[in-house]
C-alpha cells in the first residue's frame, strides 16, 4: 500500500510542489497584510490577489484529481498494477490519499500560520475561538469536493471540463460559506456531496474494463 502511495506522490510531485509554493504565498501575503495593516486603508489589493489565487488553487486541486485519473488511463497504470497482487480498491485508495496529502500540504501550513498570527495579533474583525478550525474544515472539505469532481471526470475526458465544474462549485459554495458562515450546515452538505462523488468514482473505477 505504501508503495502505491509513494508511486502516486512521485508521479504527481508537481502538484505537491505547487501546493507548497501557494501555501507559502498565502502565508507571505497574510504576514504582509498583518504587517501593513491600516484601519483607514483596508487591504483590498492583497485580498483581491488572495481570491484570484484561491480560484487558481481550486482549479489546480481539481486538475490534480483529473490528471491522476487521466494519466492512469493514458499510461495504463492500472492495467499494469492489476497484474500485480493489488486490488483496484487499493489503487483508488492510494490515489485519494495522495490527493488528500496534497490538499493538506496546501492548507495545513496556512492553518498553522493563521493560528500563530491570531495569537500574536488581535484580528480586525471579531473572531470566536473555533473560527479558524471551522474555516479550515470547510475549506478542506471544499477542496476535497473539487478534487472529487476532478477524479470523477478525469477518467473519461481531459482536464478542462472538471476544472470548469470546480470553478462553478467554488462560485456556489464560497458565497454560501460567507453568508451562512462556515458552520455545520455547510460541512454536512459538503460531506454528502463528497460521499456521493466518491461512491460514484469507486463504482466506475472498479467496473471499468482495463
Amino acid at each position: 500500500m505504501l508503495a502505491l502511495i509513494k508511486r502516486e506522490i512521485r508521479d504527481h510531485i508537481v502538484y505537491f510542489i505547487a501546493a507548497a509554493i501557494c501555501s507559502a504565498i498565502f502565508i507571505a501575503m497574510g504576514l504582509e497584510t498583518v504587517h501593513e495593516y491600516n484601519p483607514r486603508n483596508p487591504p483590498v489589493f492583497p485580498i483581491g490577489i488572495g481570491i484570484s489565487l484561491a480560484a487558481i488553487v481550486t482549479a489546480g486541486i481539481c486538475a490534480m484529481g483529473a490528471t491522476q485519473m487521466y494519466f492512469d488511463k493514458t499510461r495504463r497504470v492500472s492495467a499494469l498494477l492489476s497484474t500485480r497482487p493489488v486490488s483496484r480498491s487499493m489503487i483508488l485508495l492510494a490515489r485519494i490519499i495522495a490527493g488528500l496529502l496534497a490538499i493538506l500540504t496546501l492548507l495545513a501550513p496556512i492553518a498553522v500560520a493563521t493560528t500563530i498570527l491570531l495569537r500574536l495579533f488581535t484580528p480586525p474583525i471579531p473572531m470566536y475561538s473555533g473560527l479558524v478550525w471551522e474555516i479550515f474544515t470547510a475549506t478542506f472539505l471544499l477542496a476535497f469536493a473539487c478534487y472529487c469532481i476532478g477524479l470523477q471526470t478525469g477518467w473519461n475526458t481531459n482536464a478542462l471540463t472538471p476544472t470548469l465544474g470546480a470553478l462553478g462549485l467554488t462560485c456556489i459554495f464560497v458565497p454560501l460559506i460567507l453568508i451562512k458562515g462556515p458552520g455545520l450546515q455547510i460541512v454536512v452538505i459538503l460531506q454528502l456531496f463528497i460521499t456521493a462523488s466518491l461512491v460514484r468514482t469507486w463504482n466506475k473505477f472498479l467496473s471499468t474494463p482495463l
Binding site: 508503495a3 495504463r76 492495467a79 497484474t83 497482487p85
Partner: protein, 300 residues
C-alpha cells in the same frame, strides 16, 4: 484443491452485439502446459483478459486457482504471473523504477532468479521503458512475471517481437518452470513450432468456439488428410462424419477428417476409390484446416 487450475464454463462474450466467444468450455489441469491457438482476432486475448478479471464475461464463469475471476483477491493474484498483450508497462518510467515498483508490490520475489534473467536477456536497467525495443519489453515482462515464482503462468503471445535466440531462451525457461512441482502454464502463440515443442495440450479457437481441445500428441493421429483418387470423376455425394474439409478436382479428392476409424474407412471404400494415400499433416496444416471459416469441430 481441485486439480484443474483453470476452469472455463460456458463462457460467452459479446462486444457491441458482436459475438466473440460462443460457449467456451475448458479445463487446464495442474502441471500442464496448454497452448491456445487461433487466428488473429479469434478471441484468445479476450479469454485471457476475462480469466484475469480485466474484462467481465457476458455469460458463463471462469476460475483461476479455484477463485472466480471477477473476485480474484490480491493473495491469489500474487500466485499468478501474467504477460498481457501489448506488454503493459508504464512507458515513461525508468526500467529500474518499474522493477522496484513490481518488487515492492509482490508477495514473493526471487531476486536471484530475476537478476539471472535480466543478465541472460541483457536488459539495460537505466533506460526508460519506452526506449526499449519491443522484444526487450517482452523479455522484461516475462522476467517480471517469473520473478514472483508463480504457480500459474498465463502468457499472451509471449514471444512477440523476440528473435530466434530469445525465443529458445523463453522455451527453456518455460520448461524449467514446469519441471518444478505443481506449476501450470497457459500460453497463446502464433509460432506453432514452439507450441509443438513444449505444449501438453492444445486448443484451437475458431469462430468463437474451441474447435480442438486435446493432448498434442493425439492431434496428429486424430486428424488425417487423405488423397483419394477415383477411376472416374470424384463422387459429389461423399459424406463422412467429422469431415473438416473436402476439396475435389476432377478424379482427385482431398479430404481432412477427424477421428479416423474403420467405419469411415469402410464408408470411403464403398465409393470404390482406385487409390487412397495419407498426406502427412504438420501442426501448421492441422491448424490451417481447423480454422477455415466453414470447418467442423473435433473435440476430445
Amino acid at each position: 484443491m481441485d486439480e484443474n487450475v483453470i476452469k472455463i464454463e460456458n463462457l460467452a462474450k459479446y462486444f457491441d452485439g458482436r459475438c466473440v466467444l460462443d460457449g467456451i468450455n475448458l479445463k487446464v489441469p495442474q502441471g500442464c502446459i496448454y497452448g491456445l491457438l487461433g487466428r488473429n482476432g479469434a478471441g484468445k486475448t479476450t479469454i485471457i483478459r476475462i480469466l484475469l478479471g480485466l474484462e467481465p464475461a457476458t455469460r458463463g464463469q471462469t476460475f483461476l486457482l479455484d477463485t472466480e475471476s471477477a473476485s480474484l483477491s490480491p493473495k491469489v493474484r500474487g500466485r499468478i504471473g501474467c504477460v498481457a498483450e501489448g506488454h503493459n508497462l508504464i512507458q515513461n518510467y525508468k526500467v529500474s523504477r518499474l522493477i522496484k515498483l513490481c518488487k515492492d508490490l509482490s508477495l514473493q520475489w526471487n531476486d536471484e532468479f530475476f537478476r539471472l534473467l535480466i543478465d541472460t536477456f541483457n536488459l539495460p536497467t537505466d533506460r526508460r521503458v519506452r526506449e526499449l525495443s519491443m522484444g526487450m519489453r517482452a523479455q522484461l515482462n516475462l522476467a517480471l512475471a517469473m520473478a514472483i515464482d508463480p504457480e500459474l503462468l498465463i502468457l499472451d503471445d509471449p514471444t512477440l517481437g523476440l528473435d530466434t535466440v530469445a525465443r529458445r531462451q523463453f522455451l527453456k525457461l518455460a520448461i524449467g518452470l514446469i519441471q518444478q512441482k505443481d506449476r501450470t502454464i497457459l500460453f497463446c502463440s502464433h509460432i506453432l513450432s514452439d507450441v509443438e515443442r513444449i505444449a501438453d495440450r492444445v486448443g484451437i479457437l475458431a469462430a468463437g468456439k474451441l474447435v480442438v481441445d486435446c493432448p498434442l500428441e493425439e492431434l496428429k493421429e486424430r486428424v488425417k488428410k487423405l488423397r483419394v483418387i477415383f477411376p472416374e470423376s470424384a463422387p459429389q455425394n461423399l459424406y463422412l462424419t467429422e469431415m473438416i474439409n473436402q476439396e475435389t478436382q476432377g478424379r482427385e479428392m482431398v479430404i481432412t477428417v477427424a477421428n479416423w476409424n474403420r467405419q469411415k474407412q469402410a464408408i470411403l471404400e464403398t465409393f470404390k476409390p482406385s487409390s487412397c494415400t495419407e498426406v502427412p499433416m504438420s501442426l501448421e496444416d492441422i491448424f490451417i484446416e481447423c480454422t477455415r471459416p466453414d470447418s467442423n469441430s473435433t473435440e476430445s
